[in-house]
Symmetry: C2
Subunit: 319 residues, 2 copies
């Protein structure tokens, strides 16, 4: 057994938005060109202003192409805002900020979907046009919509997340359409690839970003049957989410707010955990192989380091 990832090995990563995309960008650089398939949550997708918007997929596209805005965690760097300003004058909805260059992605995707092209084909083509050396695929070409039952009623994900800024208390989470959705064909191929070396669950919200993907039929089964190490990178750092409502939601759902809870929820899927050094004290209470490292990714170097440590750890788990 070697503790190095084999050079021509392929990996599959599952990711939601900003934190997950950062690790995915590091993984992309840590493996050989074209050898990573990133499967991205589309439960957050929604129709806004008549446009098909895929927030997590777009964060992946922008992060992996170097176009992401490092300040906001969404949208593009060096963006202009003429559209939004004019839209406000016309009385259009302005709670979801769409930058001028960002709009091109939504308009072009919406046009191609309306012409009958599957979402996964549109996304993988756009990734190529952005010269991203990895495959980026939505989890499904079929609509899955994350809906939150909250104290102020049922909310679509973006209404909860952006418009209401995660304020309402969440009672339960539903992934509408998941049971009928089919995994995107490229995701099935990547998970069944005989050269597959590891599957990585990126540090995204387990309940809002990873769970919708696991709710699509065959996803759990394909991950379990892949016969490669499955490693999750903990989305908690010192017991807190770096960004977003992970711990608030865990609390509201009556879960214990701890990496231990997440490990328990991932128990039937993962072979190992990358734990943040601030949570190292929990190590002995986790009944799985664990590696401990600083998982905060402020710089491109951080991303590459965490990615390499994750892949090296996965290699140690190979049977």
């Amino acid at each position: 057994m070697t503790h190095e990832l084999r050079r021509h090995e392929r990996i599959v990563a599952l990711s939601g938005g900003v934190g997950g995309a950062k690790l995915a960008e590091g993984l992309m650089r840590a493996v050989v060109e074209g050898e990573m398939t990133l499967v991205v949550n589309t439960g957050d997708d929604f129709n806004h202003l008549g446009l098909h918007v895929c927030p997590d997929v777009d964060t992946a596209l922008y992060t992996l192409s170097g176009l992401a805005n490092p300040q906001t965690g969404w949208g593009r760097r060096d963006e202009t805002w003429s559209f939004m300003q004019a839209l406000e004058q016309f009385g259009g909805e302005s709670w979801f900020r769409l930058g001028d260059a960002d709009l091109a992605l939504h308009v072009e995707r919406t046009r191609r979907l309306a012409a009958g092209e599957p979402l996964s084909s549109v996304i993988s083509d756009l990734a190529e046009r952005l010269a991203i050396p990895a495959r980026i695929l939505p989890m499904s070409d079929d609509p899955v919509r994350t809906r939150l039952d909250t104290e102020i009623g049922a909310l679509d994900f973006q209404h909860y997340f952006v418009r209401e800024q995660c304020r309402p208390r969440v009672n339960s989470i539903e992934f509408k359409g998941a049971e009928k959705a089919r995994l995107s064909p490229g995701a099935v191929r990547a998970l069944a690839d005989e050269d597959l070396g590891a599957i990585i669950l990126c540090p995204s919200n387990p309940y809002l970003s990873i769970a919708p993907m696991l709710a699509v039929p065959r996803m759990r089964e394909l991950i379990r049957s892949a016969d490669v190490p499955v490693v999750a990178v903990s989305p908690l750092v010192g017991g807190e989410a770096v960004k977003g409502p992970t711990t608030k939601i865990m609390n509201e759902l009556g879960l214990s707010v701890s990496v231990l809870q997440i490990v328990q929820d991932y128990a039937d899927l993962i072979d190992g955990l990358v734990l943040d050094s601030r949570d190292a004290g929990l190590r002995d209470r986790i009944d799985l192989p664990v590696t401990v490292t600083d998982t905060l990714m402020h710089t491109p170097q951080d991303r590459l380091r965490v990615a390499r440590e994750t892949l090296a750890f996965a290699a140690t788990l190979r049977g």
Copy 2:
């Protein structure tokens, strides 16, 4: 009989794109606030990138709100172009230039049309939001599409006008859907208004911009039955169009390239003509009341002067 337009009188103007919109802007200022209804050609409308684009209506909205780009004759002043630049990177169609702020108009209109709102309601509301002190209405809420049979095949208007830059020789012009289209209700009301004082055909292309409006059932009949002076402002200056393919198309359609031809084609509609001073030599060959003035509108002052002269001339024609 007074040679002054009565102060509280209403007027209806018919217009296509840039030249017509300039006069319309002058007319709007020449009459009392809210007393002008501008009926605009929608034969140029098309679906582009999944968006409902109304080039002539938008030129009217921008010109009458002071937002028009004086250099281009289309689009907005102080525009940014991030969308177009990003769209090109994604391989989207870029022959029709949509500025970032301009996009807001198309996205918002498309969204409202998809929600079932009639075009005329969307446009009159957008005009209000731009604080335009006039009613702007599309000729119809129903689709009418100007198609040109050319030497390189049938072309939708914008493909001919923008993509092919009016180069192909035109054999004939068709207004698809016109026979089934209904005039927009506001246009009917404005033309039947008992306080109507004049109807002005703005200096737009008679064959591409005014003809589609006249092809909509009841338009000719309502103009003729309005019992008010109908005045056309000649779109030719020194026998040439100020902008656009008017004379090229007249030539290709086998028409004589002259104001006389246009007068003949408007003969059953108009009671008088505003002729440019460069064409004054033709005055005696026109069997209609004619007033002669400099019709070139370079400045806001020019627009107001031509508008006032046109309205004063119309007042002299009142029976």
